[in-house]
Amino acid sequence: MNFPWNKKQKSASIAKDRLRIAIMTDKENENYPFMEDLKRDIIEVVKKYIEVRDIDIKKEADGEFEALSIDVQVKEK
């Protein structure tokens, strides 16, 4: 019960606040669900012109903006 002499915040409510923020942050950092398919498609396209070694797609969030950064590594000659 919340009495005035019980000022310390209970640990369960601290846990709830922390979890909310942690899960929200986890979700922001998550990949888009289509990431693997996109990766495969990009490889298909680029492969027509040059050999691909690896491809890395990242979702980046900066405030309100979201960016998709695609890093294509090509095979050395």
Binding site: K10, S11, A12, A15, K16, L19, R20, P33
Partner: protein, 267 residues
């Protein structure tokens, strides 16, 4: 019904839940099979007390080295319950989508309920186990790391399951395990309402922390067989709900007396 029993991290009581829910379904006179998908970490056999009867495992069935009939083990406790063991020697990379689909299809021809004890959500092999499930039961402890990891496991379920890819939706239910009522009452453990609000899925049941669970696993007799156990009764209610019976959710209560309750009010 193909039900994957999942969790975020390990050690939350997923295997215990699988064994007890499976046996509970069987006690409701419905045919049920429990399959241990935690390859390399075989444990369900111990909880069910069937470790000495394992001859063939599910990987051997999937590879055609043994028939289902040869590999299925009948429970000692109930004739409606069967068990299929995980492979102990191979690792999780042996799992292959097509083979899993065939195994699960074959099992659902014979059994009304197919329960898959999945590896923890953060482990490899998890994605394969959930692939062909139409229902998932998430086991969570009222504790931050378990809840956070569960959210991630649910996220993977929502993007990788075949039912979702086909435009459907996997039914998701939550079982909150290891609740300590005294701590919830004093505000030092997340309440079920808090957890449901964070994870946003339907509640299937609440199970209190129960020392009897360890004694039960020591003996290989699932706690649901102990008529005096609160946790056992909670698992029976969960299984009955899955069988379509409308049983209200019961709040685990403290067992302390009047003096303790008065103390609790002022703490």
């Amino acid at each position: 019904m193909i039900i994957a029993i999942i969790s975020g991290k390990g050690g939350v009581g997923k295997t215990t839940a699988t064994a007890n829910i499976g046996l509970g379904i069987a006690l409701n006179q419905r045919k049920c099979v429990v399959v241990d998908f935690d390859i390399g970490q075989r444990n369900l056999d111990m909880i069910l007390g069937l470790e000495n009867r394992v001859v063939y495992d599910m990987v051997q069935v999937m590879d055609g080295e043994a028939s289902l009939k040869q590999a299925l083990i009948k429970s000692k406790a109930n004739e409606n319950l069967y068990f299929l063991a995980a492979s102990q020697t191979k690792d999780k990379s042996v799992l292959d989508s097509n083979k899993i689909k065939k195994l699960v299809d074959d099992l659902s021809e014979e059994f009304e309920f197919v329960l898959l004890d999945a590896p923890a959500g953060i482990e490899s092999g998890y994605e394969h186990t959930i692939e062909f499930a139409d229902t998932a039961i998430v086991i969570v402890n009222p504790e931050v790391s378990s809840i956070r990891d569960s959210d991630r496991a649910i996220g993977i379920l929502d993007s990788k399951s075949q039912k979702v890819k086909d435009g459907g939706e996997v039914d998701k239910y939550l079982v909150i395990n290891r609740i300590i009522p005294e701590m919830v009452e004093s505000g030092d453990m997340l309440s079920s309402e808090d957890i449901l609000e964070i994870l946003n899925i339907k509640l299937l049941g609440k199970v209190a922390e129960d020392k009897g669970v360890i004694e039960a696993s020591n003996q290989g007799t699932p706690i649901i067989l102990d008529s005096k156990s609160m946790a056992g009764a909670a698992y029976f209610r969960i299984a009955s709900r899955l069988c379509g019976n409308n049983i209200p959710i019961q709040e685990p209560t403290t067992t302390r007396g009047l003096v303790g309750k008065i103390k609790g009010i002022f703490s």
